[in-house]
Amino acid sequence: MTTANNLVQGLLLGGLYAMFATGLSLMFGVMRLVNLAHGDFAILAAFLALVIVDGTGLHPLLTLAVAVPAMFLLGYLLQRGLLNFTVGGDGLAPVLVTFGLSIILQNVLLEVFSADSRGLDAGAIEDTSLALGRLNVGWFPLLTLVTGAAVLGGLQLLLARTQLGRALRATSDDPEAAQLVGVDHRHAFAMATGLALATVAIAGIFLGIRTTFSPALGPTRLIFAFEAVIIGGLGSLWGTLAGGMVLGVAQTLGAQISPGWGVLTGHLVFLAVLAFRPSGLFGKPVTT
């Protein structure tokens, strides 16, 4: 029964990882830019929520209403003011600049908030669960999975149906041709980064409610997001959700064998996918 419970826990955890991965995937898809500070922005959002909760007494889930738009704006400005200057060129600059940002963010958070672990208290929803036969499914992990699926679905709709989505897809295919038909690629790139940071802000705040967090936690979140993307297969949003679930299950089952083996089992599954199915479990074969 423990195994079945852990399996369900792992699947639900996949929803959180998918939320982390969405923005990473979106930025790579639209402008071939891998944001190495992605995880640190999630932690920044969690600290932002913490400051709001401490200052106003708001429920952590309600801080989303402030933190998500704020992170969207930060992402937009970050892309226009900084990252747009790294796109194109020899491919070295984006990695160096976003890695530099990651180290700066981590250490600024460390100096401001100290290395202590913090948490967001969401009250009763954290402790109550739904009994399904002999399985116990926590309401909050369930809410996380539903939110993760909603974020992915919303992004999918936005890309498929809206003017902005068309502009993003056109820029992804060919930024110069997109410019010829009137798409401002600098604006399109900035909207993509804005959306990426908005989604990762949701992920960061859910993480903060689910568990404790500290300034140094960003890089592992980046790594989990990346593993979900690669396991699921590049360029497939629902594949990313499935990849997140595979990672979540690997971690919870690994931890069941021995507590120290949880995250390591996730890494090993990722390396196995890279070795035997480099295009991912659900992705199209890589052609580029």
Binding site: L36, A93, P94, V97
Partner: protein, 363 residues
Amino acid sequence: MTTLDPDRADPSQVDRAASGAAAAGPPGRVEVERATTASRVGAMLALVAVAVFGTAPLWARTSVLRTLIGFFTLLALATMWNLLAGYAGLVSIGQQAYIGVGAYALYWLSDSVGLDPFVAVPLAALGAAVIAVPIAVLAFRLRGGYFAIGTWVIAEALRLLVANTSQLGGGSGVTITAVSGYDRQARVYLTYWLAFVVGVGAVALTYLLLRRRLGLALTANRDSETGARSLGVDVYRAKLLVYVVAAFGCALAGAVIYLNLLRIQPDAAFSVNWSAFMIFIVVIGGVGTIEGPILGTVLFVVVQETLAQYGAWYLILLGLIAVAVALRARHGLWGVVAERTGISLFPVRRRLKLPAPALGGSR
């Protein structure tokens, strides 16, 4: 203008320059310049520096020697990262994997197997080079930014493997006790000389490698991968060689670092901060130049020592500088110096010298 610079030109021209050198041409025809006045001055300066720092135990206090051990091991790490990213286009954030492997292999070979620790250092690095081959095969399936994160995941996996192995001390780490047979002073001197050889050796090895065929292959590949492949350059092999050399160098530096510290903990030895140090040094000093990492390491150590009492702020400051340099001066501070003055102390490029009339006639 009587010189053409093939460094930025297309690979076919680089190739012609090389064949010109092989044929050695009739007198007054094409010549390939591989050394300049500045590079001869550079060689002299390098010799003086080697003489001064090679004899440091004679004139320096132990505390200075310890700072210099830090300097030379960082120089080796930065030079290896520069070889990877600046010449082979492999932006790794996972070189700490080899620092950790080098450190733990040193512990295992000296404390468990019973070898002399100073003999164990190069063997530990060889072990890391062997491990690097299958790792490269996996990591090379990813490109650009994803390659960067992939190498990081591999370093994390190794950290967790070590932390879960009780024979290697688990999460709390191990202490190298095999050095207790050495006198304290002798140990510092020997460690210093080892660090000195590793630092200077890394720069010399990179310089020599890049002046050979490998340098041409990498330059051609950097300018156009398709062009290089069509000329028969085995790009995969060149990159694999660079990756294994860099793993060896980082493991060597890692083993020396922990021979100095003696206490190895997985979280510290496999810390991504090592990559941050390498990247900041190389980016600020000048990526893709031999001189850049040297200049960058000097600046890094000065900033680190000056701001030592202010916690993590030195890393924030260096990060800000690195971001600014990556955006504004692609070849770093040394690139700015070289552009203004045309000086290259350690030239790896081949300059094609054409006689003036021939050039005039073709225009």
